[in-house]
Symmetry: C2
Subunit: 354 residues, 2 copies
Amino acid sequence: MINKETALLRLANMSTNQAVITPETAQTPLFAGVDVGGTNIKIGLVDDKGRTLAFQSIETMEELGPADAVRRIKATLHEMLFHVSLTMDDVKAIGLGTPGTMDIPRGMILAPPNLPHWRDFPVRDQLSEVTSRPVAFVNDANAAAFGEFWVGSGRDFRTMIMLTLGTGVGGGIILDGRSIEGEHSFGSECGHIIIDHNEDARCCVWGGGRGQLEAYCSASAVVRRTEEALEAGRKSALTKRINAGEELTSLMIAEKAASGDQLSLDIVLETAMYLGVGIVTLVHTVDPGAVILGGAMDFGGQNSELGQKFLARVREEFQRRAFDVVADHTVIDFAQLGSDAGYIGAAGVARESA
Amino acid sequence: MINKETALLRLANMSTNQAVITPETAQTPLFAGVDVGGTNIKIGLVDDKGRTLAFQSIETMEELGPADAVRRIKATLHEMLFHVSLTMDDVKAIGLGTPGTMDIPRGMILAPPNLPHWRDFPVRDQLSEVTSRPVAFVNDANAAAFGEFWVGSGRDFRTMIMLTLGTGVGGGIILDGRSIEGEHSFGSECGHIIIDHNEDARCCVWGGGRGQLEAYCSASAVVRRTEEALEAGRKSALTKRINAGEELTSLMIAEKAASGDQLSLDIVLETAMYLGVGIVTLVHTVDPGAVILGGAMDFGGQNSELGQKFLARVREEFQRRAFDVVADHTVIDFAQLGSDAGYIGAAGVARESA
């Protein structure tokens, strides 16, 4: 038999940011959370308090289709459970978060842009069938929001909004403990609110969505705005690296902003300004206790000087434009769970549904 | 004893748009709804199916303060009940809708702009004390939305948004049968979403709120945009009436638009365009089944040709900009209850809480 602690450490080292607990200290019942992304599928075993017992990330291999992925999710879950001397019977329910368009009541994934081979597939019921466990189905951004709501930055609030800054801008809204899924499984799409009605407003990189928040604040929007500034003749340390053949990325812009490049810093703070505008709209609509910022494009987050400058500028723009009663009382902060938010939140949604 | 039918007719004639039913055909329990406005307070007796049994509108006389108004609300309720041979014991609960800033959990009206003498007053508990009835407290725009949700245009939907077009732009969001009140009693303030982040965007007439929907779609915004077009040299039949000393109003603009004045029609359709933009933002956030347009500035509503042109333009702009899945399936329509929505909805909220 495998030594439990070694197994746990091995699993823990595979990438979760969360402290991993043992089956002995776990609070039952246990839940599994599955977070499907375009590149990886993150699978976690989570206890009743939202703590991670075991974690595993597998490749999505999306071209093999969803049925194959469902089989590999099941196999990985069994392997993880075996490592901690548990079985599927110890898992009360599974939460499954997927990206893109979906039909939540029917448990269908429809046409996710980053999973072209996963079309019109009954992923919820298939996973339930192979695992013999009830499966709760949730949008991936809503799952991440629920994770932060349950055990992350949002845990002190009844109502919160999470914005996930990355290739796109995702959103999740938790209202009195339930995520806004919408009548057409299209709720909480906070990246697609319009912050500029004008016909010359920016477009999302995928071509649609003129004036939408994502066209200003996504990683690709940040790159495009920087390219435009360079083309307009702004001086920047970025030019040297681009001339050396490097591709301009939002990470590179963040690095240069952190090391004092003025154009890069201007772009970061302008991104914060746009985000502040969008947050005013969301807060005036939902009036949450907190707005949580997560995702890879957080400019270093709470532990970096640049992240703190970014956050300060978001708050400043929000407070300048929002009504006093919300401007003074709505918390705006970074997320805490990093890339674990999705599977933890999916497990949390399963727990709510079980 | 007063003849019941005569009394009912008399009350009915006082202005409700709803069919008035008799105590014999009413479905018990009964509820009272109170809709406090800057000019009038509307009070209705409503049955368990949302039908009006009796209705009365009294002057707010806001300068006499809220305590006086509470006494007059009670007296009016007693009078109405007497006319239909009922007593306060027949009323299970009262719903109270008020405008402006409020603290819903504490039942406090805080600082409503149109009720300057009603500051920091525990209006919910005071009304409950004088009537010996439980009182549910709700924002007036949310109350109107709930009325439409319960028995009006929204009755076939679980989730809906109502926009009230008038001096300002009010909003109410009903999600799975409950209105979004927010953590600071500031939820559903749909008039204050930002549709233009630019520093040269329009301001609300009260001076703040740059770029907010209300700065484009309220009655005063419509008047201001028309004035600007006239100053810029646009020809219009409005000029004659203004030169004759009439004050330009949104009603006058609607009249002229209906009778073929091109500038007036352009202004109406431009208002619809801005509204369509705002609706995209709200629908991408909440994903409701329907968006309902109400309020005095509905350009004639569903029974007028101008109202239909206005609605068609709202839908066109929404469908042009929204994601397919919601563009094709979200209903956008006029409200049905007119100025009765507020007291009926307040009664409905009382019914939900009772």
